[in-house]
Symmetry: C2
Subunit: 213 residues, 2 copies
DNA sequence: ACCTGAACACCGTTCAAGT
DNA sequence: ACCTGAACACCGTTCAAGT
């Protein structure tokens, strides 16, 4: 399959993004890299934001493809493997990570589809781990949110240099992910030896999410 | 104390940031808001990035002041209160949050000082919670990193709309913080009824943080 | 020491015109 | 349908000049 002009524009934008961050992605340089004029992109994308959204979409697609390939293997990837892979990807392609999960408030239907597929893969991995006693019981959606939030935050803080600034422990994001899974396994064991009260279920909401005064 | 011109420029930049994001912070508009010409800021800041770093510094200072005031109260703020406050601040001032923790690779000595003060406050709160059995034992620095990473990631995902997209649970970032503290309390209880092997200490490193192949 | 107005290079976007 | 070159408005930054 030959690369369409649209694809080559996206590839050029992604390369510039990796190289110099979002500031380096100018339509003029994108056009120059792809061998067209500086406003040829306007025939394929509404504006610069749409081009960046397409870059994020391509990245999400590639991530989903890799994940699907792993899901075909036996055994299926564990929740821990998924989160560790997420962190490794973020560290390896910081700019794509920031772009993809930074903001694509735009609707981009295909983008939402692949995101939903990735989410459901994580959900089933969480459910499997719960059944094996590696993760505590409760709403899998909420537990998946916890895992994703930690992996995302650890990667983001590490990329900004806000992690273990003075720590002699030198804990990286992957270490924090591992720690969380260790603690959750301990919590699951503790719950197994207790009365079955669920955490994170609808009945035990802790805090309102409303705006503080 | 009257507001110096430098302060009024920082205030103008912060107001523009809150209103329209980083793109709305132009030196021309900053000057107009502060009542000076569009390049007067260059007499107070090296360039636009330095002005934004000063905005981040002012924000960090105000956060530290609020935290110190709370620390004077009895009892001292718990680790959970600190993290909940962090999340609430991020949701209330999204642009300042993204700027302050996004990137200030710049050295800015005073910035590092207030950041270190805030970090040590969290560390002591973690140690207190550990002594009370609310948090599991282990390196407090590493545990603090876990808490901060989760709060940061939950806030960031919520702001980008990547949290509980289809969840009927509607778990917000504050809920995830509460969940984590619940799980950690359970893990602490489980560890108390086990042989004292520490998690997250130097001897039990889980994963190398090196780059994946 | 601080400020101004003019000027330069760059960028996103639009438009008339070509094939 | 896709592309080009010129043009416009805007922005960061620099510079000569003022007080």
């Amino acid at each position: 399959m030959v690369e369409s002009r649209r694809d080559s524009l996206i590839a050029a934008a992604a390369a510039l993004l990796d190289q110099g961050g979002p500031a380096a992605v100018t339509l003029r340089e994108v056009g120059r890299t792809a061998g067209v004029s500086h406003n040829a992109p306007y025939k394929h994308f509404a504006d610069k934001d749409a081009l960046l959204a397409a870059v994020a979409g391509r990245e999400l697609d590639q991530l989903a493809r890799v994940a699907r390939a792993r899901a075909g293997a036996t055994p299926q990837p564990s929740a821990k493997a998924l989160m560790t892979g997420y962190v490794a990807w973020a560290l390896r392609y910081p700019e794509r990570f920031k772009l993809t999960f930074g903001r694509w408030t735009r609707e981009e239907p295909e983008l939402a589809a692949t995101a939903a597929a990735a989410h459901s893969m994580l959900l089933s991995a969480v459910a499997t781990a719960q059944a094996q006693g590696d993760l505590p019981p409760g709403d899998p959606e909420r537990l998946a949110g916890l895992l994703q939030a930690l992996a995302h935050g650890a990667a983001d803080l590490a990329l900004s240099g806000h992690l273990s600034e003075s720590g002699k422990g030198r804990a990286g994001p992957a270490d924090l992910v591992a720690d969380l899974f260790d603690y959750l396994r301990l919590a699951a064991a503790e719950k197994a030896s207790q009365a079955p009260v669920s955490i994170g279920a609808a009945g035990s909401r802790h805090h309102s999410d409303s705006e503080p005064s």
